[in-house]
């Protein structure tokens, strides 16, 4: 009996960890290997990067940037390897001519030898974006693992666009872009916005009992929205995608064009629910100028 309990506990944990594996961002998507976690990120308009660790060590870094011209990918990867060797293994630079290369689908992999990093690059014409993986410490096993990772690559350019990270998942029209990503321990917020300032915010909150501290989920959500300068108008207990949830109608001061000057309030709506299997609170809300078409939050959530 105890064994069955342990098994179900493992199942719950693995289902929770499964949710952390998809990483889908602006133009690309991967399924991360088990135990890999995003431990760092930098987001800029023309590019960005994600860092990954398993429990013990750094596993790699994925970076992307938009370029005006078409890059010479083999030469670019060779230059990165050469610069790395010059800095870290000066003795090995003399032996370095051309890196070992391997083509896997659209990806080009390059490496020099044990200890030096393994690089993978992909150039996409539309949109003009260069994707690069930097994997520290080449070994044949690491190469095999990275090949598995690259097999999971899928473009993410179609409408609606997918956004998946830290267990959050949204599927939004292409016009929405990331406004901010805030990842704290057991509390992640992903904020996307379209050019008309229509905002969709997804949250994922862990340590539910400690977070709630005896209050209801509705009250917790009200406080979160109040902290983000919203005025909550109604709190209703309903269901969202078939699970019990709290719906909050709120308003927030407009931040776009004349609305910002006149202090006009924009209407918003949000949902918060508890995923008991995962032990997480999730919320998804939207707020925007009047007459802006709203998205269906039930469809948006992944």
């Amino acid at each position: 009996m105890g064994g069955a309990a342990n098994k179900s506990e493992v199942d719950v944990l693995s289902s929770f960890m499964r949710r952390l594996r998809p990483l889908t961002w602006n133009g690309f998507g991967f399924i991360l290997p088990e135990r890999w976690e995003v431990t760092g990120y930098g987001l800029k308009p023309a590019g960005g990067r994600f860092q990954f660790h398993d429990r013990a060590q750094a596993m790699g870094e994925l970076s992307w940037r938009t370029l005006a011209g078409t890059p010479d990918l083999p030469r670019m990867l060779g230059d990165v390897l050469r610069r790395y060797l010059e800095a870290e293994q000066p003795d090995a630079v003399a032996d370095f001519r051309v890196p070992s290369c391997l083509r896997q689908g659209e990806w080009l992999l390059a490496w020099h030898g044990p200890g030096a990093p393994l690089l993978a690059g992909l150039w996409k014409e539309n949109p003009r974006i260069l994707l690069q993986w930097f994997i520290p410490g080449f070994t044949p096993e690491r190469l095999h693992q990275v090949q598995g990772l690259l097999d999971t690559y899928h473009p993410n350019e179609r409408d609606p666009k997918q956004w998946q990270i830290f267990g959050l998942g949204l599927s939004l029209p292409k016009a929405f872009t990331v406004e901010s990503l805030d990842a704290q321990s057991a509390y992640c917020t992903l904020r996307l916005e379209n050019p008309a300032s229509h905002q969709v915010v997804a949250r994922r909150i862990g340590m539910v009992a400690e977070t709630l501290g005896g209050m209801s989920i509705g009250e917790c959500y009200r406080r979160i929205l109040n902290r983000s300068h919203a005025r909550v108008l109604a709190v209703v207990e309903e269901s969202f995608r078939g699970v019990p949830a709290w719906r909050l109608d709120f308003e927030r001061k407009g931040v776009h064009r004349m609305d910002a000057l006149s202090g006009r309030w924009w209407q918003g709506q949000g949902w918060m629910w508890h995923d008991a299997d995962e032990g997480r609170l999730y919320s998804c809300e939207q707020c925007g100028p009047p007459r802006q078409p709203r998205v269906d939050l039930a469809d948006v959530w992944r």
């Binding site: 719950v12 960890m17 952390l20 431990t39 704290q184 321990s185 057991a186 862990g206 400690e210 032990g279």
Partner: protein, 112 residues
């Protein structure tokens, strides 16, 4: 590893940690005059109590992080980020010390 000079008292609501304060020789004569406290008390409740119990002078940070992650259904690095920021606070207040044990090193000798 816990500060061996801290007095621990437990009750139904949590744990109290009393730390005797030591002043430099130049401050001792005026300590009473300035009404400086002789001790500082920290109160741990809820999750902090659970973390304190895990700090049993033998557990590694990795093991504590793993246990905390499993108990609260957090990923390893979520748990690590949360615990490290909390442990840093405890270290800064002199409640615990993080030590690296080597083979053959007497743990008693490493007490604060």
């Amino acid at each position: 590893m816990r500060n061996q000079r801290i007095t621990v008292t437990e009750d139904a609501e949590g744990i109290g940690l009393t730390q005797t304060l030591h002043y430099g020789w130049w401050l001792r004569p005026v300590r009473r005059l300035m009404n400086l406290p002789q001790s500082r008390v920290y109160r741990l409740e809820g999750t902090a109590v659970a973390v304190w119990r895990m700090l049993d002078d033998t557990a590694t940070i990795g093991a504590i992080v793993e246990t905390f992650a499993a108990e609260h259904r957090l990923s390893y690095h979520e748990s690590r980020a949360m615990l490290m920021s909390y442990l840093r606070v405890l270290v800064n207040r002199g409640v615990i010390a993080i030590v690296g044990f080597e083979h053959g090193v007497d743990q008693e000798a490493m007490a604060i």
